[in-house]
């Protein structure tokens, strides 16, 4: 405490002007008018101590303690007060209220204190504090601060703080009654997109004392702002649509191989997605989920788990049913039921949550109307990577060439020495493995449960059928167009109706073009 007693007069002595030392007793006993002067005084003092005094004063926690003849922080605890050192926060003593004199405030003082503290923070060396302070001041722009704000703008080094400071100045200038200042303020907020600024503008237009030019300009800006907000809103929907589209793409692209290329209806495809998601969950039990490594390990593991399950399914069941698509459908439904119950028996019927790595949590905020969460960006990028690598595998490797050969002409491929049966199994494993990776991506967006696959199987089939069977490009176009269409309809109709509309649309579309968007041309009357 000696430190405190020495320090305050010391600093005040050396500050810009000579002030009387901050006398705790005088402050505590001063009238409200006199306290204003104390605030002025403290404003001039740039020290950390003064900041604390102001802050505690605002919080009603400042008191004069006669025992040491200085200021302390007091925190009410029951009927007594815990006294703490102003700077260190160390607990000093617990006393009853008559032992101390608390510094009282009224609303006017409180408003003044807020402004002063806000402004002090704007000059703080810490960027984050400055940024928060600017946002705080925006809530209640005060015209009196304008000159100080303009001064600060000249020296503010940080770009984003400066941008917001400019907006703050603009908003503050609107408070003025001078139409030139108002116009200047309007220019500063022309290209700002935030609901708060829009509110301020709306309220501003309600003022009765405005100049004609100012009103016109403000209205113009408001209209422009609304138009821009609606564009960004559309962009936001588009982003959601793309992210849904990539989920659909990931879920459907494996199916595009097994159904599209091989002609196998695999109703257990959804369960391979689920297996992938559970793999991500299991991997997290060994590697903490907050680490990105957990995700990096989970992706290939899920590919292998689902891929091998797929190969086993192909070897044991589907192999016997080639050429009988409807029977394959039934058998794989059976397998999907068994897998679901298996997972339910092992992991329990409740949903498990997979933790998103730190690197992928949070979001990229472009402006108030448009932000992108990192996990959705990840899913979009991941879908594109999977797509490109799949294309390379199918088009640029011997393995892909063999699969395509078997699809086009099984007999000929066989006589060229391609082991057709092994190719079937490998292709099926590839499709299933991709489903597993889709599961890992999904686990970043939703909870993982035994019914996860069921939710996607109908959608995946819709995507493949809509895009045209046997055509990877069609699947891509179908996935993204259905995803975007869904999200564009959603704001008007609600999520469920949007989904129904999409389903009905596909049903009607299939009537018109039974072979999908990009049908493979052929001469055969029927398959």
């Amino acid at each position: 405490m000696i430190f405190f007693r020495l320090l305050v007069p010391f600093i005040l002595m050396f500050s810009a002007q000579a002030f009387p030392a901050l006398d705790g007793q005088a402050l505590a006993k001063a009238s409200f008018k006199e306290k204003m002067i104390f605030i002025e005084m403290l404003t001039m003092d740039p020290s950390d101590k003064a900041s604390k005094v102001l802050q505690y004063w605002l919080d009603g926690e400042l008191a004069y303690w006669p025992k040491i003849g200085g200021m302390v922080r007091n925190v009410k605890e029951g009927r007594k007060y815990v006294l703490k050192d102003l700077m260190t926060g160390k607990e000093l003593e617990t006393v009853v209220s008559k032992k101390i004199t608390r510094v009282k405030t009224n609303n006017r003082l409180r408003a003044e204190l807020k402004q002063v503290i806000g402004f002090r923070k704007i000059a703080s060396p810490d960027v984050e504090v400055r940024y928060a302070a600017v946002l705080e001041l925006m809530r209640q722009p005060n015209l009196e601060l304008l000159p100080k704000l303009l001064d600060r703008e000249l020296v503010e080094p940080d770009l984003s703080v400066n941008t917001n400071l400019s907006i703050l100045i603009g908003l503050t200038q609107l408070e003025s009654s001078d139409s030139f200042v108002q116009l200047e303020g309007l220019e500063r907020i022309t290209n700002v997109l935030s609901p708060e600024v829009k509110d301020v503008l709306n309220r501003f237009l309600l003022r009765g004392d405005l100049d004609r030019i100012v009103v016109d300009r403000a209205a113009e800006i408001l209209v422009d702002m609304e138009r821009q907000l609606s564009y960004w809103g559309m962009g936001q929907n588009l982003f959601y649509g793309l992210s849904l589209g990539s989920v659909l793409l990931l879920a459907a692209i494996g199916l595009a191989i097994t159904f599209g290329v091989m002609g196998v209806i695999n109703m257990a495809h959804g369960e391979f997605i689920m297996l992938g998601a559970y793999t991500a969950f299991v991997v997290q039990q060994f590697i903490p989920g907050t680490s990105i490594w957990s995700l990096i390990v989970a992706i290939p593991t899920a590919f292998l788990v689902s891929g091998f399950s797929g190969i086993i399914l192909e070897r044991s069941v589907i192999r016997h049913l080639y050429g009988r698509p409807l029977e394959t459908l039934l058998a794989t439904v059976g397998v999907s039921l068994i897998l679901q119950q298996l997972v339910r028996s092992v992991f329990g019927p409740l949903n498990q949550s997979v933790i998103t790595p730190d690197l992928l949590s949070g979001s990229l905020n472009i402006n108030a109307a448009f932000s992108m969460t990192y996990n959705r960006i990840f899913v979009i990028i991941f879908a594109i990577i999977v797509l490109i690598s799949l294309w390379c595998v199918m088009q640029r490797t011997t393995f892909g060439m063999r699969i395509r050969a078997v699809t086009m002409n099984r007999g000929m491929a066989s006589s060229m020495g391609i082991p057709t049966k092994r190719m079937d199994a490998m292709a099926f494993g590839l499709g299933s493995g991709i489903a597993g990776m889709a599961g890992v991506a999904l686990s970043q967006l939703t909870n993982v449960g035994p019914n996860l696959g069921q939710a996607y199987i109908v959608d995946s089939f819709m995507v493949v059928v809509f895009g045209g069977v046997g055509n990877l490009l069609g699947t891509v176009v179908a996935a993204f167009s259905l995803g975007v269409a869904n999200k564009i309809i959603e704001p008007f109709s609600g999520a469920v109706l949007a989904k129904i509309f999409i389903l009905v649309f596909i049903v009607l579309f299939i009537q018109k073009r039974p072979r999908g968007l990009f049908a493979l041309k052929g001469r055969s009357v029927e398959d």
Binding site: L330, G334, S336, M462, L503, I506, V507, I510, Q511
Partner: protein, 369 residues
Amino acid sequence: MLLIFLRKLILSSIAALLMYVFIANVVLPESFGLALDSYTLTIIGKYLCFAMLAVALDLVWGYCGILSLGHTAFFALGGYAMGMYLMRQIGDRGTYGDSELPDFMVFLNWDELPWFWFGFDQFWFAVLMVFLVPGILAFVFGWFAFRSRVSGVYLSIITQALTYALMLAFFRNEMGFGGNNGLTDFKDILGYSVSSPDVRVALMLLSGCGLIGCLLLCMQLMKTKFGRVLIAIRDSESRIRFLGYRVEYYKLLVFVISAMIAGFAGALYVPQVGIINPGEFSPLASIEVVVWVALGGRGSLVGAALGAIAVNAAKTFFTGFYPEAWLFFLGAIFVISTLYLPKGILGAIVDLGAKYQSTRSTSLKESCS
């Protein structure tokens, strides 16, 4: 030969069961102790309704090659039509005591009945709707699908999309069908309490007669020229088209008939189980119906009925005693029936009989020579 014998056997055993229930529960006084209790009656009645649904599916799948994965949609629509009648019969005995509006509408603060609820206070109107609503949906859907020659797997997938869309729609409260709770708390049917034993017996007997009626109707249908053309379409659709038949009209008619039978089954099902909710529309339920038919033996009608009863009896057993194992078992039925019993139980028995006969005739020949 064997198939005809099996048909007669199954038909007559259903008839015998009905006779037994009629005599034991209605004719004889209760003191005889032969009467079945309400619970058993309801379960049997439920199986019979499912069997009817399976017969409806077998009609299109077994005889015309249309694998519909959305047949429970027709079943559920028939059920909802009957459920709406039953809801209107509750009158002012609901929790909120509103004489016009069902409870869930009062709960949602609706002021008046939606237009599609009008007329459902009349029994004849509800019965008409039980046939008309599934029939019209099947007609519209089939009209578009068959004319544009959607067939095979594609048709299966869009029927699945249809029932999935309907399920999502019926889950919405705004649709006016009770949302995810569906329609329940029924009180009266034609002035009699739905829970009274007499009504239970009557409903069960009606379901049995309905099943036998449907079986006989479909068998007769298959003996006509119309039925012969259907089978020909199943075996080679394009050939029939080239012969000058309008394939789509044949398919459309049989699809509509099948949907109506399914709706009828649903209408009998609802008063017996006392509830109808959107879960009945679920795509998985439809696929389950397919496996009843596949297990029993498709293209034989009675096989479908047999499969439905067998699988559902197993379901009652497993969900009662080993609920964990039920999905394993059901999944195994799916796999085994497609891999090892491609013609179903009935087909397997017929094949075995034929093999036995041929071995006997060859051994006879050998012993003669």
